[in-house]
């Protein structure tokens, strides 16, 4: 099975790609000008900031770039395209021949290109509306080689890509758009214009099953373009034929040739490899680290700041406590929480709120006392002998005990866990 992806992501610029209209308007058709509505006489002028971000993305995806790039016109007729051509890149993309690493697997990136977004079409009952706010917004199109081989790889690829883009300030809350190429046989089927990670994966799953079924029944698979219907969770034949022949790409001579060799790319951050490094360095579960930092710059910043002073596990626990209970997410509060946890306490919601409001929190926290913990554990075990037996095979039951005691005594669950382990081993010896 071969899966290839074409992902479109909007760039975090103040203004659009070829005009000075804001990139962040809400009210329909308020951020428009002669250029992004294609008025006769208007001219595009390239947004250098978009060029820099697109270049940084291509570098982050390990692409190579030529010294200069240029733009081309892709001509097609559709109501969302006011000039009836899209300014895009074909012959000379901003980056090519890159890759993303998913652990040991390498997913090759064929090309990264910079282009303008068409307007937004809103289909209503009996009529259609067009919002030109989106027309001319900067996009990168990221095209992979068909190196994705399983649904899980697809999910990991999208998440990894989104994380890389997130660290380059791309708004990944905005759902990414993608075209999927899936071939189980020699025949390639394209599923176009899918919005959102979940839909991309659902569409892939449906299409894989559809093609498997056809193969099993010896029915030939048609080379075609399909679309994804979210409500039906199915792909549907588009019966539209498009080819490069009809697009008639030519150089856009309203723009020039741009030297990108001197652009300083923004340094990429790969959360997944950082999680791996931290995990190896401090012996903390890799996925717990990744979960904290994959889409959270603050968390990564906290870890980088405190890793030398405190235990990584405690930093991560403090981060998740603050995320759950806190309203502020500042470094001072975090450090207070870390210190409390380092002392073996485990603050609850009230404690966090108290810390945030600047109160002295020591009054709310009892001093950790192993004897007290041991006493609690014993009474818990004594009250329920079965629990002990179950705990040998049932990790959940054990965690339940730990959680309850930690809560009751307001101590760090890790401390309870340690005591419980030593007590249990001695119990086992006795038996």
């Amino acid at each position: 099975m071969k899966i290839g992806l074409e992902v479109h992501a909007g760039l975090p610029t103040k203004t659009k790609l070829f005009c000075r209209c804001t990139n962040h308007s809400k009210e329909p058709n308020t951020a428009i000008c002669p250029t992004c509505t294609g008025m006769p006489g208007s001219k595009p002028v390239l947004n250098n900031s978009a060029l820099k971000i697109a270049f940084s993305i291509s570098k982050a995806l390990n692409c190579s770039s030529s010294k200069t790039i240029y733009f081309e016109r892709k001509v097609y007729f559709y109501p969302d395209l006011p000039k009836s051509f899209q300014i895009t890149q074909k012959e000379c993309p901003i980056g090519s021949n890159g890759f993303i690493l998913l652990g040991d697997k390498k997913i090759r990136i064929r090309r990264v290109q910079l282009e303008e977004d068409p307007a937004k079409i809103l289909r209503e009952d009996g009529y259609t509306l067009i919002d030109y706010n989106r027309s001319g917004r900067p996009l990168v199109e990221i095209v992979t080689e068909p190196d994705i081989q399983t649904e899980e790889d697809l999910r990991m690829f999208i998440t990894e890509l989104k994380s890389i883009l997130y660290y380059l300030d791309v708004d990944v809350e905005q759902e990414i758009k993608a075209d999927l190429n899936i071939s189980l046989s020699e025949i390639r089927v394209e599923v176009k214009n899918i919005t959102g990670t979940k839909n991309i994966i659902d569409a892939a799953r449906y299409e894989i099953q559809r093609q498997e079924k056809l193969i099993n029944e010896n029915i030939p698979i048609e080379k075609e373009t399909r679309s994804y219907n979210e409500a039906k969770m199915a792909t549907i034949s588009s019966r539209e034929k498009e080819s490069d022949e009809e697009y008639g790409f030519i150089f856009d001579s309203d723009l020039t040739v741009y030297d990108i060799s001197k652009i300083k790319a923004i340094k990429p951050i790969y959360a997944s490899s950082m999680a791996k490094e931290y995990s190896q360095k401090y012996g903390v579960n890799e996925s717990q680290i990744l979960e904290a930092i994959q889409f959270n710059k603050n968390s990564l910043g906290f870890i980088e700041r405190f890793e030398k002073n405190y235990k990584l596990k405690n930093i991560l626990n403090s981060i998740s406590l603050l995320q759950r209970y806190g309203s502020k997410n500042d470094v001072e509060t975090l450090e207070k929480v870390i210190k409390i946890i380092e002392q073996g306490h485990y603050p609850d919601q009230k404690d966090i709120q108290a810390i945030e409001s600047g109160k002295e929190i020591t009054i709310n926290i009892k001093v950790a006392n192993t004897q007290e913990i041991d006493k609690e554990i014993r009474s818990m075990i004594d009250g329920n002998k079965n629990l002990l037996k179950e705990s040998a095979t049932n990790k959940k039951a054990l965690n339940f005990i730990i959680g309850n005691i930690a809560k009751k005594l307001k101590v760090n669950p890790r401390l309870v866990s340690e005591r419980l382990e030593s007590l249990l081993s001695s119990e086992h010896k006795v038996q």
Partner: protein, 450 residues
């Protein structure tokens, strides 16, 4: 009414400018110079008109195309802005071949007639600009050339027409024909007016990436080069008059040199391929949807809707859209479009070598000014061939100037002088020197100076 004297006799004090304005409207009815006349009164000395493919804020701008009827740009072209900022008064929009597609000014709903003799064409595509300059005494025409649209009508109407280096005057506000070839230029009755205006309107513009400012080294201002291929196959009378003119220049102290460049005949196919390919993308936006002629029947499928709207393009525009779309298509792109680009860059190299030694001089047109009925006999291909002398400098973006050098059977004859990139003022200065020994004739001298 033939002269400013006659015109002035009829004037009543107080209604001078308005009168002038309405007289121009009458003239318009007769000669079809203007598509629209500005509602603003003419309030200061020099007037300027603007070719109808250049945007003037809130003034209907149609590039003489039915498909753009009702397009009132919400902005001024940079060149219009700069003219106004320099105290020129906007007079009106001048007629042209639809989207600039034409050599004679006949591809338009209303056709401008030659002020020297109304039986003759004005030349195109800046037909109204040239006619207005031949009629109005104190007036500057802002025109535009893609393949000869300034030189040709300037020659046929006996005025000076200047096409600058590609990229030296901002194209912001120009309704595109072929973006890599389009150049906004100037027509006037005297070269010194052109020089004055050129200095005011040229130079970088934040709205047009391709508009820049460069300097170049001086060239020999006394050497005239004739390219053999450009002075053969001319109309017999044109050839005779042109060689007399060359003799005159020799007598004035210029040295004449002959060169051969057989390859130059590839300029015409190269030009038309590039121009049509780009035009077909530029005209794609006219779908009757967002500006210009609008179709409010939204019951059709969008493809049908767009196709119906494009019915409103004229026959020459349709021809260029079809041919241009064809040469862009993937399977033939390397056969035509890519080759045409190679020819262009080769030609720039070859002509640069020649232009390093001196100016290139030729007639503007290989034929005499045709009468309207003569143009009907020409096939589109024959019309394209008449551009053989104006296309090389236009294809290569070299600055060139068209100016009257003689009169034959009462009609003016124009010559074209070409120089290397960014050496624009040298050719304007050449014409200024020529004007010291040659007087231009004008049949009309309408207009006033404050």
């Amino acid at each position: 009414m033939n002269s400013i004297e006659e015109f002035n006799k009829k004037q009543r004090p107080g209604d001078y400018y308005i009168k002038l304005n309405s007289e121009l409207v009458k003239l318009n009815e007769k000669l079809n110079i203007f598509n629209t006349i500005s509602q603003e009164n003419i309030s200061s000395g020099f007037l300027f008109s603007v070719k109808d493919n250049i945007c003037v804020k809130n003034v209907e701008t149609t590039a003489s195309s039915k498909i753009l009827k009702g397009y009132f740009p919400p902005f001024n072209a940079t060149v219009v802005e700069r003219m106004k900022n320099n105290g020129f008064s906007f007079l009106g929009k001048t007629n042209m071949d639809e989207f600039g597609f034409g050599s004679f000014g006949i591809n338009s709903e209303h056709i401008a007639k030659n002020p020297f003799d109304e039986r003759y064409v004005t030349g195109g595509s800046s037909s109204g600009a040239a006619a207005a300059t031949a009629i109005l005494k104190y007036h500057i025409a802002i025109a535009e050339s893609t393949g000869g649209s300034i030189s040709t009508p300037a020659a046929f109407c006996g005025v000076v027409g200047f096409t600058p280096t590609y990229g030296s005057i901002s194209r912001y506000g120009l309704i595109d024909y072929s973006n890599s070839l389009d150049k906004i230029g100037i027509m006037a009755r005297k070269s010194e007016d052109i020089k004055y205006v050129y200095e005011k309107i040229r130079g970088p513009d934040s709205h047009d990436t391709t508009c820049v400012d460069k300097k170049c080294t001086d060239t020999d201002k006394k050497k005239i080069i004739l390219i053999d291929q450009l002075i053969t196959g001319l109309d017999v009378e044109i050839e005779k008059e042109f060689l007399l003119f060359v003799k005159k220049l020799e007598n004035l102290g210029y040295t004449i040199e002959h060169r051969s460049l057989p390859f130059i005949d590839k300029a015409i196919p190269s030009y038309y391929i590039i121009a049509m390919a780009e035009a077909s993308t530029n005209l794609a936006k006219y779908t009757g949807f967002k500006y210009g002629l609008k179709n409010n029947d939204f019951s059709q499928q969008y493809n049908t809707f767009f196709t119906n709207a494009r019915e409103n393009l004229g026959p020459e525009a349709k021809r260029r859209v079809v041919l241009g779309t064809f040469v862009r298509s993937a399977s033939v792109k390397n056969l035509y479009y890519s080759k045409a680009l190679k020819v262009r860059s080769l030609l720039i190299n070859e002509l640069n070598k020649i232009l390093a030694d001196g100016f290139i001089l030729s007639p503007v047109m290989p034929i005499k000014t045709p009468r309207f009925e003569d143009t009907n006999k020409l096939s589109p291909l024959e019309v394209y061939k008449t551009d053989m002398l104006t296309i090389p400098p236009n294809l290569c973006g070299f600055p060139h100037i068209s100016f009257p050098y003689s009169y034959l059977h009462g009609m003016p004859l124009g010559a074209q002088l070409v120089t290397k990139h960014w050496n624009d003022t040298a050719i304007i200065d050449f014409v200024s020197k020529w004007e010291l020994s040659f007087n231009y004739d004008f049949k009309y001298n309408l207009g006033v100076l404050r």
